[in-house]
Amino acid sequence: MAPKEILKIENLKTYFDTWAGIVKAVDGVSLDVREGETLGLVGESGSGKSVTALSILGIVPRPGKIIEGRIIYKGENLLEKTENDLQKIRGKEIGYIFQDPATSLNPVFSIASQLTEVIKRHQIVKTPSLRATDLYKLRATIRRRRDAKEEILQKAIELFKLVEIPDPEIKIWSYPHQLSGGMKQRIAVARALSCQPSLLLADEPTTNLDVTIQAQILQLMKSLKEKLGMSMILITHDMGVVAGVADRITVLYAGRVCETADTRTIFYNPKHPYTIALLTAVPSLALRKEKLAVIPGAIPNLIEPPTGCRFHPRCEYAEAACAKRIPPLEEIEPGHYVACIRASEIDIESPLGAMTNE
């Protein structure tokens, strides 16, 4: 039997009520993450990947609002929790890595103070509080506070070692502007891991890094995930990235799930035309083509999305029925879910399929 689910999202709808109209950024997304696995969340820009992740933590920026759905984390619905309870979960139970390491660190504080802040916040190490009433043991309290501070600092240095930053004792006192992009992203990873979360949300963690650093960071995240036994949601638009890291992949398009399956199936036996189109658009050295394939058109306006299947205006295989009915997410084979009414009819080889046969 498959391992237990750590996170299950059911029919999540997050809408943004703007003056131009209601933007249906996430419109009925369902997905699940099992214990110890990495789920790749793939889609074009604007397909609702980030909003889904922010919804999990309940930090969707205004005017965004979660309209309906259930986010079940370890058996509890996060949407029913109070802000106070959520604050205790954020960072401690669920870590988050942001896209741009350059801006996700506060420029005015040293790395040390930013890392220790999280550890202090979640009371991994307790700092004894100073109270005027125990004046007679003031010195002991001060000493214990100093020890606690030292312990927290040691923890932060441990984290630095974990993310493989050289000279942690010195580097920890530096400020964000003194570090390179790759270094900052390592620190962002360290900060997200500081309280040993059970689930890590990585929102395009490698998009703003150059390719060699990308590989390093991905390798690091992969090995840390194994070491700490967490689950991870990796958000990306880069099929190459998910291919290397993810166990399963969920493809999003315009706020809806198109296809969910394990990585191998997505790459070699995709059923949804959008997944196929995405794979065709991956630049590849092996499949050298004259021109890079593109998906015609752009992601639809989410204020008035196309009726029926949202991909049908751009879909090669669309027929009249596609515009009428919202295709349900159906399990066509064990663990392989597709939202396309023609999924069984379309039988084309994956653009990568030819490669395996050789």
Partner: protein, 309 residues
């Protein structure tokens, strides 16, 4: 004046700071040191603070003394005995200018403290919370922005100084009134900065790490708008000094207080015969305000993170 290349000189001291990391404050200080105009401003302010601190030692005559009155030395031009001359009742202008330094700084710092506290409070809350709170606070700010500042100030001062017995903290009332009526533009600027900072990813990151709202405002937003606040405070001090001088000059200040504005007002009636009565207090007002403006500009250049290297 802009630094072309900031290379840490291979000094022992620098080696030490490097191992602890170079904070934005270190960078700002390095840049500030290079700015001659700002240093000059700081020097002027330092000089006036020195005058105010040791006024009774520096001034040859006690406050309100009229050494020239009984010996027919009213309105005598500057000489060795009276460095800046004497006024129509025989006050030594130099002594009065020295005593005026304390009033100027008192009003300047006091009014700026009041105005900036209000501005920071309104700016942070309104910028961070947004929505309904922002709407209400900004409408109040706008009320303060549209009232003709000097006119209302004069009316209030006239009433308040008439109500309380003369000589009881007249200067403090001027200071409080200036503070209460001049926070609005600063609140707007701070709110704007907060709006910019709160969209940064590190704010979102600290939310994602479980920080509370209060913590985000004070620990993440406030330090990031601090550079703006410092600059605004400096310029606010300059404005407050200038406004106090204007109010006193127009005859609405506290007549019992020794301020440069009061001296200007008294000199007003004899500009032709006794230029020294007005020139010297006027010069000091200009100098001090210039000092704060130069310092403010220098701080802005040094602290603005966007202008880094």
């Amino acid at each position: 004046m802009k630094n072309k290349s900031v290379k840490p000189k291979p000094q022992n001291r620098n080696e030490k700071t490097r191992s602890r990391g170079v904070s934005q404050w270190n960078i700002a200080w390095r840049r500030f040191k290079k700015n001659k105009a700002a240093l000059a401003g700081a020097l002027i302010i330092g000089f006036v603070i020195f005058l105010a601190a040791f006024d009774s030692l520096i001034a040859p005559y006690p406050p309100n003394a009229t050494p020239g009155f009984y010996i027919g030395e009213a309105r005598v031009p500057p000489s060795l005995k009276y460095l800046f001359g004497t006024d129509y009742v025989g006050h030594d202008v130099f002594s009065q200018v020295v005593y005026g330094a304390r009033s100027a700084l008192y009003v300047g710092f006091g009014a700026a403290a009041i105005a900036m506290s209000l501005a920071i409070l309104v700016g942070l809350v309104s910028g961070y919370y947004g929505g309904f709170v922002d709407n209400i606070l900004m409408r109040i700010t706008e009320i303060f922005l549209v009232i003709p500042f000097l006119l209302v100030l004069l009316v209030f001062l006239k009433v308040i100084i008439a109500v309380i017995p003369s000589g009881v903290g007249g200067l403090s009332i001027v200071m409080i009134m200036i503070g209460v009526f001049s926070w609005a533009p600063n609140a707007r600027i701070i709110r704007g900065e907060v709006l910019r900072v709160k969209e940064s990813e590190f704010i979102e990151a600290s939310k994602a790490l479980g920080a509370s709202k209060r913590r985000i405002i004070f620990r993440h937003v406030f330090p990031n708008v601090l550079h703006t606040i410092i600059v605004l405070t400096t310029l606010m001090i300059a404005t407050a000094i200038l406004v106090e001088a204007a109010v006193s000059f127009l005859g609405f200040g506290d007549p019992a207080a020794i301020t440069w504005g009061q001296q200007l007002q008294k000199a007003n009636e004899a500009v032709k015969e006794a230029w020294w009565e007005g020139i010297f207090p006027g010069l000091f007002i200009t100098l001090l305000v210039l000092g704060f403006s130069l310092l403010g500009n220098g701080l802005r250049d040094a602290l603005d993170p966007r202008l880094r290297e």
